[in-house]
C-alpha cells in the first residue's frame, strides 16, 4: 500500500508539472494556432536562468525568479514578433518546423553557455520526508504539487475575471469577432507567448528542484502532447486532469510493467483515444465545410 502511495505522489507531482507545461502550450495553440515544440526548451531556459542567478551571482531566490520571468517574457514576445509573425498563413508543417528549429537552437545555446554537466538546483523547497498513510513521501514532491496547483488556480482566476484574460479567451474562440469588438489581437498574441514563458519558468523551476539542472528537463516538453490531447486545449481543469492522468500512467507503468514501456505507453494509449475521438477527449470538434 505504501508503495502505491509513493507512486501516486510521484505521478501526481510529475503530472502537476506537465499540467503547467501543457497550459503554456495550450495558451499558444488556442490563441495563435501555433504548435509550440519549444515548450520544453523554455522550461530549460527558465531553470538555467534561475540557477545562474542564484549560484553564479548569489542572488536571493525571489530576485532570481523575477529575473527568469522577465527573461521568459522577453523571449516569448521576441519569438512571437520576430519569428512567428512572418509565418502567418504558412502551412502548419512550416510552423511546426520553426518551433522545432527554435527548440534546437535554445537547447544548444544553453549547452554552450552552461555546459552539459548536471548541477544541483539550489534548494528553496525543503527536503526531507513526510508520512502519508504509512508511506514515506518526499516533501519536495508535495510542494511541487502544491505550487503547481496554486499557479494553475491563479491562471484560472486570470482567465475568468481579468480583462486581458477574457480577451484571450475571446481571441481563442473567434479572432474575427474579437477584432470587431475592439480587442487587439496582436497584443493578445504577444501576451499568450509571454504567459507561456511564465508557465515555463514555474514549471522549469519545479522540475529542476526534483531532478537537478540538466538537459533532461527537456523531456518534460515532449510529454506535453499526450497531456494536451487527453485534457483538451480548452480548459485549465482539463489540462490538470490530463497532466495527472499522464503522470500517474507513466509512474504506474514503470512500476508494474517496466521494460521501458513507460516511454511508449502514453503515446500508444493516445493514438487509441484519438482514433475514437479525433479531437481529443475534451477538444472541440472542427466542422469543415467545403
Amino acid at each position: 500500500m505504501d508503495q502505491f502511495v509513493q507512486l501516486t505522489v510521484t505521478g501526481l507531482a510529475n503530472g502537476a508539472i506537465l499540467a503547467l507545461a501543457a497550459l503554456g502550450f495550450a495558451l499558444i495553440y488556442k490563441a495563435t494556432g501555433v504548435i509550440n515544440f519549444a515548450q520544453g526548451e523554455f522550461m530549460l531556459v527558465g531553470a538555467y536562468v534561475i540557477f545562474a542567478a542564484m549560484v553564479t551571482y548569489s542572488l536571493h531566490w525571489t530576485v532570481a525568479v523575477a529575473i527568469a520571468l522577465v527573461v521568459a517574457i522577453l523571449l516569448g514576445v521576441g519569438v512571437e514578433r520576430l519569428i512567428l509573425r512572418p509565418l502567418v498563413g504558412q502551412p502548419i508543417i512550416s510552423v511546426i518546423m520553426v518551433t522545432i528549429g527554435l527548440a534546437l537552437f535554445l537547447r544548444s545555446a544553453v549547452q554552450i553557455i552552461f555546459g552539459t554537466q548536471p548541477q544541483r538546483f539550489p534548494e528553496f523547497i525543503p527536503r526531507g520526508t513526510v508520512n502519508i498513510l504509512g508511506a514515506t513521501v518526499p516533501q519536495n514532491r508535495l510542494w511541487g504539487i502544491g505550487l503547481a496547483a496554486v499557479a494553475l488556480g491563479a491562471f484560472t482566476l486570470f482567465f475568468q475575471h481579468s480583462r486581458d484574460g477574457v480577451a484571450m479567451r475571446a481571441v481563442a474562440d473567434d479572432q474575427q469577432a474579437a477584432l470587431t469588438v475592439g480587442i487587439s489581437v496582436r497584443r493578445v498574441f504577444a501576451m499568450s507567448w509571454a504567459l507561456a514563458g511564465v508557465t515555463a519558468v514555474i514549471g522549469g523551476m519545479l522540475v529542476a528542484n526534483l531532478i537537478g539542472v540538466s538537459g533532461g528537463i527537456v523531456s518534460f516538453g515532449l510529454l506535453v502532447f499526450p497531456v494536451v490531447i487527453l485534457g483538451g486545449l480548452d480548459s485549465i481543469p482539463g489540462a490538470m486532469l490530463g497532466g495527472a492522468i499522464i503522470g500517474l500512467l507513466i509512474t504506474y507503468t514503470g512500476a508494474y510493467l517496466g521494460g521501458g514501456l513507460q516511454s511508449v505507453i502514453p503515446y500508444v494509449i493516445l493514438v487509441f483515444i484519438l482514433m475514437v475521438k479525433p479531437y481529443g477527449l475534451f477538444g472541440q470538434v472542427r466542422i469543415e465545410r467545403v
Partner: protein, 409 residues
C-alpha cells in the same frame, strides 16, 4: 526591306550577355569549389603515423563529451588531452610530437565508426576509445586493421586476446568488479541477501549482469538476483525501485548522474537497501550530485577517486598544474601515459611504430605503476585484462575512503 547586316538586335545583345554572365558565373563557381575541396580535403588528415624523422605520431581519441555518459567522459577526455599536451611540451617522444585527433561522438556508435575510419585513414598508431557498444561493434575491424585499442569500456567481452587481440582493458573488468562486489556482500551478510542490479540501458549496462548471475550460482551464494535497466529518459527511479522492493543491496552499473538520482530516490522512499556503485559511479561527481544521500554508499573501482591522496595523484597535480583533478581525469591521464610509454619504448629500441609491434610492447612491459591511483597494470600475451583486483570504497563524511584493499573476484 533590307536589314543591315551589322545591326545588332536588342534581343541578340540580351541573349549573348546573358550567356556570358552564366558562363562566367559557372567558371568562378568551379574554381571556388575546386579550391575549397582541395583545402578542406586535407584538414582531416594528419601526418604520417609511423616512419622516421620528426613526423608527428598520430593517436585517435573517441570521447563522449556531451552524450549520455558525458558527465564522466568529459573529465576522462581532459585527462588524456592534458597528458598529451604536457608530453608534447616536454619534447614529445624522441623529439616527435604526438598529434591527438579527437572528437565528441556523443555515444553514437555509427559516429564512432566514422571517426575510427577517419583516424585509420590518418594513419593513427593507436586508438583511445570509450563506450562498450561502439568498442564491441568495432572489434572486428580493430583486429583486422591490427590497431591497438584502449577503451573506457571494461567489458569482459574484450579481454580475450584470442578473440580481440588488439583490445586492451586498462582496468578490472565490469564482470570482475561485479564478482568482487558480490563476494564482499556475501562476507558481510553471511549469504542472505537480495541483489537488485540497476544498470544503464545499453550493452555497457548489461555487460556484468549475466556474469554476476553465473558467479552467484557457481559460488553457491544463496542470493536472489534480478536486473533492472534504467531508462535513459527517466527523471526519477521511484517506479523502478517499487519493482525492486525487498532488495537488500542495489548494485549500480551506470554513470554518476543517474546513480545520484537513484541515491536520492532511495532516500526519499526510505528504502532499506545498501547501494553499491561499480566504477563509473564511484567518483566525485556522484558524491556532489547526490549530496547527503551519498553517505554510506559502497563502491568498487580499480581507478580510485582523487580524494584518496596517493603519490600518483600528487604527481598528476604537479605535472598538469591542475589542482582540481578527479578520478576519471586521473584515469584518462594514466591511459595516455601508458600508451605513450609503450610507444616510446618502441621508438627508443629503434623499431617502427606499427600495430603488431605496439601490441607486443604493451604485452611485454613490466607492470605499470600509477602511484597508487590504481593497482599496477599488467598485460600479457594471453591476458589483456590490465588488472584483476580492485579496492572497495565507502562514502564517509562526503568523501570516498578505502575500506578494503586489493579484493580479488
Amino acid at each position: 526591306m533590307a536589314i543591315p547586316l551589322l545591326t545588332l538586335r536588342k534581343e541578340d545583345i540580351m541573349s549573348r550577355t546573358r550567356t556570358l554572365i552564366v558562363v562566367a558565373g559557372l567558371v568562378l563557381l568551379t574554381a571556388a569549389c575546386g579550391g575549397a575541396e582541395g583545402d578542406n580535403g586535407d584538414a582531416a588528415g594528419g601526418g604520417d603515423g609511423d616512419g622516421g624523422g620528426g613526423d608527428p605520431i598520430v593517436l585517435g581519441g573517441i570521447f563522449d563529451l556531451t552524450g549520455p555518459t558525458g558527465d564522466v567522459g568529459t573529465p576522462y577526455a581532459e585527462g588524456v588531452r592534458d597528458f598529451i599536451s604536457q608530453l608534447n611540451e616536454d619534447g614529445g617522444i624522441d623529439g616527435r610530437q604526438i598529434n591527438l585527433m579527437s572528437q565528441d561522438y556523443q555515444y553514437d556508435v555509427a559516429l564512432a565508426e566514422q571517426l575510427y575510419s577517419q583516424y585509420q585513414g590518418a594513419r593513427a598508431v593507436a586508438i583511445l576509445g570509450w563506450g562498450t557498444a561502439d568498442t564491441e561493434a568495432l572489434r572486428g575491424r580493430v583486429s583486422a586493421d591490427e590497431l591497438p585499442y584502449f577503451s573506457g569500456s571494461l567489458s569482459e567481452e574484450l579481454a580475450d586476446p584470442q578473440e580481440t587481440p588488439y583490445n586492451f582493458l586498462v582496468g578490472t573488468t565490469y564482470s570482475d568488479q561485479m564478482r568482487i562486489a558480490l563476494k564482499y556482500i556475501n562476507e558481510q551478510t553471511g549469504g542472505d541477501a537480495n541483489i537488485a542490479v540497476f544498470h544503464h540501458d545499453s550493452p555497457f549496462g548489461e555487460s556484468p549482469v549475466d556474469d554476476g548471475r553465473q558467479y552467484v550460482e557457481d559460488q553457491g551464494f544463496g542470493f536472489e538476483y534480478s536486473a533492472y535497466p534504467m531508462p535513459g529518459d527517466a527523471t526519477d527511479y521511484t517506479a523502478l525501485l517499487s519493482r525492486a522492493q525487498g532488495a537488500t543491496h542495489i548494485i549500480v552499473q551506470n554513470v554518476a548522474s543517474p546513480a545520484a538520482q537513484l541515491a536520492q530516490d532511495i532516500a526519499n522512499q526510505g528504502a532499506d537497501a545498501q547501494m553499491v556503485c561499480l566504477n563509473w559511479c564511484t567518483d566525485e561527481e556522484f558524491v556532489e550530485l547526490a549530496g547527503d544521500t551519498a553517505e554510506g554508499v559502497l563502491g568498487v573501482t580499480p581507478w580510485a577517486p582523487a580524494s584518496i591522496d596517493t603519490e600518483g595523484v600528487q604527481e598528476v597535480v604537479e605535472a598538469s598544474g591542475n589542482d582540481d583533478v578527479g578520478g576519471h581525469y586521473l584515469q584518462g591521464w594514466y591511459y595516455a601515459e601508458l600508451m605513450t610509454t609503450a610507444i616510446a619504448k618502441l621508438v627508443e629500441a629503434g623499431e617502427d611504430v606499427t600495430g603488431p609491434n605496439l601490441k607486443s610492447a604493451l604485452e611485454e612491459t613490466e607492470p605499470f605503476d600509477t602511484g597508487g591511483v590504481s593497482p599496477p597494470i599488467d598485460f600479457s600475451a594471453d591476458d589483456h585484462k590490465g588488472m584483476t583486483v580492485a579496492p572497495i570504497f565507502e562514502v564517509t563524511d562526503g568523501t570516498w575512503n578505502v575500506i578494503e584493499e586489493g579484493v580479488e573476484p
